[in-house]
């Protein structure tokens, strides 16, 4: 039985700089794995390569979702197959109400999957329920997407989108950055509520703090563009105590 996400010997570069080197990772359905690592280790690159952001060149290896080649697909095709990225820096889009944006996205995915589009009343019902769970003011969703939102509001907006789009694979890129402790707790609760047997998550973070709230099944250490150590949740605590230095040495 293959995992939901299977990454084998993945190598990638930006311009002339090799960032990922023979990275392998197996993420079974229903599990939450954390990727931790020092700055510059390639954490964000991994999230970008998996989601198909232009500007990265895959130089070797593969990534498969449900045993299907992910890397050959356009970003939007990956999205409609269930890949979701919670951005480290969510984009502001003036002139577009968040609700309009989210409904367009949801229907684009449904259309790509050959499903019926969601009606306006059903959509509003769905979003109201999810927004309430994240303690979001519904009126905020009538405002232009992320424009004038605080850091915490932007991250909550990301998790709301994740809840509405219901992905198979959610990649959370530094979701804790820029959050105070209260916002962090709300965002983490939102993420935990989305745990499901047929959904997997990759939680990318620099600090252990987020993992107090989102308990991972496994922790991987990313250094020098590959996974240099893997273990249970206790590995995150070791890292917090000892730092990344010994892993950086391992990667060299």
């Amino acid at each position: 039985m293959t995992a939901l996400l299977e990454v084998r010997n993945l190598s990638a570069r930006v311009a002339d700089t090799q960032i990922l080197s023979n990275l392998s990772l197996s993420l079974p359905a229903g599990e939450v794995h954390a990727i931790m690592g020092p700055n510059g280790a390639g954490k964000s690159t991994l999230s970008h390569v998996l989601t198909g952001k232009p500007g990265y060149e895959v130089t070797g290896g593969e990534a498969r979702l449900d045993d299907q080649d992910l890397l050959a697909l356009e970003p939007e095709a990956r999205a409609s197959r269930g890949v979701f990225l919670s951005f480290q820096y969510p984009v502001e889009i003036p002139g577009v109400p968040a609700l309009t944006f989210l409904r367009t996205a949801l229907n684009a995915q449904k259309k790509a999957r050959g499903e019926a589009e969601v009606s306006a009343p059903d959509f509003l019902k769905l979003v109201r329920a999810k927004a309430a769970g994240l303690k979001m003011d519904f009126d905020m969703l009538k405002r232009a997407l992320n424009v004038g939102f605080s850091g915490g509001e932007k991250k909550r907006m990301e998790i709301l989108q994740m809840a509405v789009l219901a992905p198979r694979l959610a990649i959370l890129d530094e979701t804790d950055s820029g959050l105070d402790i209260d916002a962090l707790r709300i965002v983490a609760e939102g993420v935990n509520a989305l745990r499901a047997p047929d959904r997997s998550m990759l939680v990318i973070t620099h600090y252990q703090r987020l993992l107090d709230y989102i308990r991972p099944d496994r922790v991987h250490v990313l250094a020098g563009g590959r996974i240099v150590a893997s273990g249970g949740p206790e590995l995150a605590l070791d890292l917090e105590r000892e730092g990344y230095d010994r892993f950086v040495d391992l990667a060299a």
Partner: protein
């Protein structure tokens, strides 16, 4: 030098050329070698106005420059008017002039549509707008010209004391198209809002030129023009605000912002402020940029195709202009127009 003069005399020597500063980016002399024959009198049925639906009004129709010469709204009255400027004769020339005059305290909402039943026309239309003391006019112009047409429209606007003019001009351009506004704050304490929106593709051209003159104290002008150019299209924005001696306490703002969507499209902009009065507040901003790659990826990551994401972002970019339209029916008409233009 004007297109109208050239059309009336048949002499291309009267065509404005790029040697004139005001026409440097909209050269007609180099484009038109021989002027077309005048349009014959129109006989036939006119189609229903395509944007009339949410807009119950009286209708004024001018075909190839021919029709009523004026619209006069008596003091204190309120009207909703659809002014249709229709180009009917293929490959013909025409010159038209119409007056829109609001007496003191009159109010009007004007939907001005430029429609084409055939292509290849060359036309100039002048619209003389005058607002009496305390009069209010809100106008929406939808310039739907053909891609092979040459079209010049001049709006000459004069505001009396305390008058309010709220104007929005939406265009997709033409082979050469100029939408010129000359506005004068003649007697003080008047307000003008000039909104512009262009969406150009193919080889289309649109020139939004304006001259706003503050001749008297205490008036305000607020101009915002946004647009996108794709393909090999070209947009021209020439905005000039002139604050004459004595026009103290003038408040004038001008903004022009463009998105360039292809390597072969072009935007030429010349914002100018000239101030000869005291205690004046003036500001202007001009930006030309491209679609943000981060935003594009964000939308695609959420499931939108690249084409859909581009259309979504460009529509979002320009739509802010429409927020300045206060009449709800005009707002609806303008949004429908933009949605039609944005449909992939």
């Amino acid at each position: 030098m004007s297109l109208a003069q050239a059309l009336l005399t048949g002499d291309p020597g009267y065509l404005p050329s790029r040697r004139e500063e005001a026409w440097r980016w909209t050269d007609l002399r180099g484009l038109i070698r021989v002027l077309p024959p005048p349009a014959p009198a129109f006989c036939g049925d006119l189609p229903l106005a395509s944007f009339a639906a949410p807009f119950p009004t009286e209708e004024v129709v001018i075909v190839d420059g021919q029709g009523p010469t004026g619209l006069d709204i008596p003091a204190g009255e309120t009207r909703r008017i659809s002014l249709r400027l229709i180009n009917a004769a293929a490959g013909a020339g025409h010159v038209g002039r119409v007056r829109v005059s609001l007496e003191a305290g009159a109010r009007a909402v004007l939907l001005q549509t430029h429609e084409a039943l055939a292509g290849g026309y060359v036309g100039e239309t002048q619209i003389d707008i005058s607002l009496g003391d305390g009069a209010r006019l809100e106008r929406l112009v939808l310039a739907d010209d053909r891609e092979d047409a040459v079209s010049v429209t001049i709006s000459d606007v004069r505001l009396a004391r305390g008058a309010v003019f709220n104007d929005a001009v939406l265009t997709t351009g033409a082979r050469r198209q100029r939408l010129e506004t000359r506005l004068t704050h003649a007697a003080g304490e008047s307000e003008a809002r000039l909104l512009g929106l262009y969406r150009l593709a193919g080889r289309r051209h649109a020139d939004l030129t304006s001259l706003i003159e503050h001749e008297s104290p205490g008036s305000a002008s607020d101009q915002l023009v946004k647009g996108t150019v794709d393909g090999q299209s070209r947009a021209v924005f020439q905005g000039r605000i002139l604050v004459r001696p004595g026009a103290d306490r003038t408040d004038a703002r001008m903004g022009h912002h463009a998105l360039v969507l292809s390597d072969t499209a072009e935007v030429d902009a010349k914002p100018e402020l000239e101030i000869y009065a005291d205690d004046v507040s003036c500001a202007h901003g001009n930006t030309v940029g491209t679609l943000d790659d981060e935003a594009l990826f964000y939308l695609r990551q959420r499931g939108m195709s690249e084409a859909r994401a581009r259309a979504f972002l460009t529509e979002a970019y320009v739509s802010a202009v429409l927020d300045g339209i206060t009449d709800q029916d005009l707002q609806t008409v303008a949004r429908a127009w933009l949605a039609r233009e944005a449909a992939p």
